[in-house]
């Protein structure tokens, strides 16, 4: 279960990594998945991706470890999910 919060980090994730914001909450499947994968591919080293989603993307969660990514999910009290995704190698550098 993701942590429920009334405050959401904007611009930086909880570890202080700069975040690129991607709001996919208005798109129907599979568009969010495609947009997230595309955004991850163009993410700069050391940055994280901050995804705003209507649902928890469980199929994405299953793919991320295999691609070397880690993630953290926070649910805002308005019901939206905020998912922070970063590459494992970037965390190791920290």
């Amino acid at each position: 279960m993701p942590e429920l919060s009334s405050e959401i980090n904007q611009g930086f994730d909880s570890a202080g990594r700069p975040c690129v914001l991607l709001d996919v909450s208005g798109f129907e499947p599979p568009e969010p998945f495609k947009q997230i994968v595309k955004a991850l591919a163009s993410l700069k080293a050391g940055d994280a991706l901050h995804v705003v989603h209507r649902r928890e993307p469980f199929p994405l969660y299953q793919q991320l470890p295999g691609l070397g990514y880690e993630y953290q999910t926070v649910q805002h009290i308005d019901g939206l999910y905020h998912i922070y995704i970063w590459h494992r190698s970037h965390k190791d550098k920290d």
């Binding site: 208005g26 499947p29 994968v37 209507r54 469980f58 299953q62 295999g66 691609l67």
Partner: protein
């Protein structure tokens, strides 16, 4: 719906559910052929009419539902079933054979045929019921699964009452109880099994695929229970010839059917992105037809007897074609390309060389094709609904059903062919990148 237990690794191959989805339109074409016989509308007890109805309800509707279950059950169970693909192939073969033989029970009465059909259809369905119970017992329930469980009860009752009637048609004399049981069979089949499944599925797929708010909690949690209780009350009222229970059940049915249709129609007005979508059009058509069926049924209670039977046939056709078949057409347009995407996406994510080659859903099925199917359906529907009043329309209506079902078959086959091509392309790129 809590999807955290889902496992994509447990997904069966794309061919497994799609085999059912491609077979279903073939049965709809067969149903269209039977619809072309204009003597159907002499009486609702005419064997040709009963045969045609079952070609659509079992051949099309049940076939699609079984296909959907072969996809959903392994994913819901989280670990898949051993040999799911080969088991589903045998299951599909038996079911197809049984359903091809089934209509002949009404055309060429034979005791041997009854036994053969019962075995061919009952064996795969019992296997399916066993798997459903096994998975649902180990899966945390939610509003969708709860509604589908209620639909499962209705399906079991529909099958048992249907088999009983088929047996008594050959071994016993027809009786007044038999006719009441036929009505109960029809009510539990169309309004119970199919509509409760549609409700349960819609609670999940409308907000997810069409980016709408969730259904109101009252509708999601209470309405399927109310609907099920009302059906039990109606069945009891009809069997015991108790007018009070029957009328109470009619009032309850109005509440559940109108409540469900209006709330779903309202959700579609709340879509975040109002892009043209054939699936949305099919849903809206289905929901409006559900309201129309309720209205026409009410009218049929206050007209003289000569009009009553064709009007009530129109209600049944409105529920079968206008609601159920329309919604299934719409969902197939959305779900089959989505499944193709899901499998190709999983394959493309296996290698960095193919990660950026993820296709779009439109590459499997262009949205314009879906709209063409919808317009075709809009032409055939009034013809089918008016056929009980003007039997000469049957030929035209049946011909249109044949054409529209053939077009659906073409679309499903197109997705399958494009999927195979995409899969082959990705595998070849991945092989080349490994060699390099």
């Amino acid at each position: 719906m809590n999807l955290s237990g889902l496992s994509l690794d447990a997904m069966p191959s794309f061919q497994t559910p799609v085999r059912f989805f491609v077979t279903a339109p073939v049965f709809a074409m067969l149903g269209g052929f039977l619809l072309m016989l204009s003597d159907l509308w002499v009486s609702r007890w005419h064997p040709h009419l009963i045969a045609m109805t079952h070609v659509f309800t079992l051949g099309f509707v049940l076939m699609v539902m079984c296909g959907a279950l072969t996809q959903i059950l392994p994913v819901l169970s989280g670990k898949g079933f051993p040999l799911v693909d080969s088991t589903a192939k045998i299951f599909h073969g038996l079911l197809t054979a049984g359903l091809l033989v089934f209509p002949f029970n009404f055309l060429i009465p034979s005791k041997l045929l009854v036994l053969l059909t019962s075995c061919l259809i009952a064996v795969p369905l019992l296997l399916m019921v066993f798997l459903i119970v096994k998975v649902f017992l180990s899966t945390r329930s939610n509003v969708s699964i709860f509604s589908i469980k209620l639909a499962g009860f209705c399906l079991i009752f529909t099958l048992l009452s249907g088999l009983w009637q088929l047996g008594s048609y050959h071994w016993l004399e027809a009786s007044a109880v038999g006719k009441v049981l036929t009505n109960v069979h029809l009510i539990f089949g169309l309004l119970g099994w199919v509509l409760l499944t549609v409700m349960g599925v819609s609670f999940q797929v409308i907000p997810m695929f069409h980016v709408t708010p969730e259904f109101p909690a009252l509708i999601k949690r209470r309405l399927p229970v109310l609907h099920f209780v009302v059906l039990l009350l109606l069945a009891g009222g009809l069997i015991n010839q108790d007018a009070v229970s029957t009328w109470l059940a009619f009032v309850g049915l109005h509440v559940s059917l109108i409540g469900y249709s209006c709330s779903a129609l309202w959700l579609f007005t709340q879509r975040r992105r109002k892009v043209p979508d054939a699936t949305v059009n099919f849903w809206r058509l289905g929901l409006v037809c559900l309201l129309m069926a309720v209205g026409v049924f009410d009218v049929s209670l206050f007209v003289d007897e000569t009009l009553q039977e064709p009007l009530q046939m129109m209600v049944a056709l409105c529920v079968l074609f206008g609601v159920i078949i329309a919604i299934i057409f719409g969902m197939l347009l959305k779900i089959v390309p989505f499944l193709a995407f899901l499998h190709v996406q999983q394959l493309s994510m296996k290698s960095m060389a193919t990660m950026s080659l993820m296709p779009s859903m439109a590459e499997f099925l262009e949205s314009g094709r879906g709209h063409q199917l919808f317009y075709g359906f809009c032409v055939l529907l009034p013809m089918v609904l008016l056929a009980p009043f003007e039997p000469r329309l049957s030929l035209l209506a049946g011909g249109m059903v044949l054409i529209v079902a053939a077009y659906l078959l073409l679309l499903m086959a197109t997705v399958w062919i494009r999927y195979k091509k995409k899969e082959a392309d990705l595998l070849s790129i991945q092989e080349q990148s490994q060699l390099e």
